[in-house]
């Protein structure tokens, strides 16, 4: 088990390196010069070639690509992700600012999604034909509504019509915990709906499949109650695939909250990423991609290990 975990981690580090190299190279292949972007506002000031060259030198973009790459890689190995082109602040500072915002949406959405999903899914799995049909239709609908449509509708209903919750914005939890949570509800909900539906579907089919197993029938035969069998045997055994799906879903979410962030004006990594690409702020883009990729890879490893614990039939080679 430990050897397996170590090997997975080693492969994970290799993967992260490949992702980092790809992003570094492709960013430099993107047209659009960071220096020109920095110097070009919306008004009418003239941009001279000397000024562009000067800014390029300040940003270190005048060095050969290989040198830039090695310097960047060296920095990453020592925990230095470089400094942002646009505000000269360390990229790690940007990440420290923005990751918690994204993480809080993902975390709350995951908690809502997993708990609601498991409840709904197990209800559908053992609640008879009607429950199954209702949940089938509901979850089918839930996974089909684009998150930004759902988000816009939530704003329209809860913020603009009922005026029950803010339309968007952000307060740091440390400064204003109530304000933070209040503004967290709608975006988390927008993300959680599809999440819950995916988990519910997975739970339902896992429950249905597990309930067919011989040992469940045995449990009933030896006199356990239906609910007892369900809790002790069915749900616990059905949980493994649910954990997998949830883990992968969380990993995907970390890198794709941008739509929700935009609608709710939430300053997470997604919006920073879109801005950074638009500004050609290479170090920031690289930093976010690296962080998201590492989180995704780590989650995958954790999910695999947890799966092994939950389902002893899995033998790690």
């Amino acid at each position: 088990m430990l050897r397996y975990a170590l090997r997975r981690c080693a492969v994970g580090v290799g993967l992260a390196w490949v992702v980092l190299t790809l992003i570094f190279l492709s960013l430099h292949a993107v047209p659009g010069d960071p220096a020109e972007v920095i110097l070009s506002g919306e008004g009418a000031g003239a941009v001279t070639q000397e000024a562009v060259a000067q800014v390029r030198a300040e940003l270190g973009l005048d060095r050969p690509l290989g040198v830039q790459y090695l310097q960047y890689l060296g920095g990453v190995l020592t925990g230095d992700l470089g400094t942002s082109f646009t505000d000269r602040a360390p990229v790690t500072e940007h990440l420290a600012d923005r990751l918690p915002a994204t993480a809080s949406i993902v975390l709350v959405a995951a908690v809502i999604g997993i708990s609601a999903g498991i409840v709904i899914g197990s209800w559908a799995g053992r609640g008879g034909r009607v429950a199954d049909a209702v949940v089938g239709i509901g979850t089918g609908l839930g996974v089909s509504v684009p998150v930004y449509v759902l988000g816009s509708l939530l704003v329209l209903v809860f913020a603009l019509t009922l005026r029950a919750l803010p339309a968007g914005g952000y307060r740091a939890f440390a400064d204003d915990p109530a304000g933070h949570l209040e503004r967290l509800i709608l975006p988390s909900l927008a993300v959680a709906v599809a999440f819950a539906c995916v988990v519910a579907r997975m739970t339902r089919s896992a429950v249905v499949e597990t309930a067919r197993q011989d040992w469940v029938r045995t449990g009933r035969a030896v006199g356990m109650t239906r609910a007892g069998v369900f809790r002790v045997h069915v749900l616990r055994n059905a949980l493994a695939p649910v954990v997998t799906v949830s883990g992968l879903e969380i990993g995907t979410l970390l890198g794709s909250t941008v739509l929700v962030e935009r609608i709710f004006n939430w300053p997470g990594t997604g919006s920073l990423l879109v801005d950074a690409v638009a500004q050609r702020d290479y170090p920031v883009v690289q930093g976010i991609v690296l962080a998201v990729a590492v989180a995704f890879i780590a989650l995958n490893i954790v999910v695999d290990l947890v799966y092994g614990v939950l389902d002893p039939r899995v033998v790690h080679r």
């Binding site: 992003i23 089909s144 449509v149």
Partner: protein
């Protein structure tokens, strides 16, 4: 698709009567409705342009004409273009993109998984790690960079979606190949000395195809969802070409004053995804004997 294709792991093809019974069970009234919607959506995308007398690109009336006026079934958009025409052509673009992307993903993914699963060793290492890298790359970054390098547009979009969905097929095919490899009929063919390529094509591929075919319609649904999201961010289909995602993005701007501009294309997207998702579920329940 033919039900004569051998299905799943080592299970031989089920007899026809059991297959129909399973189909009947898979097709509850709800799914039947969804399948009818899928059929209607496809028909609208294919034949719709013949039925609607307006061009999706040319203004044909006042901006935001209400539905029913001037022959505009669903009214007009901010440019005075017929919404129904844009919806139908948009659906066509959407499905075309989704189909092409799905085909691309299925072919590349399956080939990667097939090779990785069959040859093992370094081939497995390379193919499966490539899929891992794609999965670890945040979707949006990938789309942003591809669009920044190659420019937005239908082709870029198809390639982006194709690459993003390929890992699903690679993993699926890989897992299937691992189990098929151990089957006796494969051992027999190897013993007979069949050339590897021929073996893969004639024997292995048909035996791993069923779950891949099931996955197709789920990918179409996912592709429609992702396309609309990318278009919403300005990374998808280029205006003035009609696309549902673009229509939603435009509608979003007028949500306060003209909610129909958002709701109509959004409903179309939801129905399409719903219908193709249900089609996939039906196929899975029908063809996958483990359920």
């Amino acid at each position: 698709m033919s039900s004569a294709v051998p299905v799943g792991d080592q299970t031989p093809a089920p007899p026809r009567s059991r297959s129909t019974a399973r189909l009947r069970r898979a097709l509850n009234p709800w799914r039947l409705t969804a399948l009818v919607i899928a059929a209607l959506v496809t028909v609208a995308a294919v034949l719709g342009p013949l039925l609607i007398p307006f061009d999706p690109l040319t203004p044909a009336g006042e901006p935001f004409a209400p539905s029913g006026t001037g022959g505009h079934l669903l009214g007009t958009d901010s440019f005075g273009r017929d919404v129904a025409a844009r919806l139908v052509y948009g659906l066509r673009t959407e499905l075309l993109i989704a189909l092409c992307a799905t085909a691309l993903a299925a072919v590349t993914g399956t080939v990667l998984g097939l090779l990785g699963g069959w040859f093992g060793r370094w081939v497995e290492l390379v193919t499966m790690r490539v899929t891992d890298v794609v999965l670890a790359f945040p979707t949006i970054v990938f789309a942003l960079l591809a669009v920044a390098i190659f420019g937005a547009g239908t082709t870029t979009l198809i390639v982006v979606l194709g690459v993003l969905f390929a890992p699903t097929y690679a993993r699926l095919a890989y897992g299937q190949v691992l189990s098929v490899r151990r089957a006796e009929y494969v051992d027999a063919e190897i013993a007979f000395g069949s050339p590897t390529l021929r073996l893969l094509r004639r024997t292995v591929l048909p035996n791993i195809l069923a779950p891949i075919l099931v996955q197709l319609s789920l990918t179409i649904a996912a592709a429609v969802l992702l396309e609309s999201g990318l278009s919403f961010l300005g990374l998808g289909v280029l205006p003035p070409e009609p696309s549902l995602g673009l229509m939603i993005a435009d509608g979003q701007r007028y949500l306060g004053s003209e909610p129909g501009q958002l709701l109509v294309p959004a409903a179309a997207v939801v129905l399409t995804i719903l219908a193709f998702g249900a089609l996939g579920d039906t196929l899975r329940d029908w063809l996958d004997p483990r359920r």
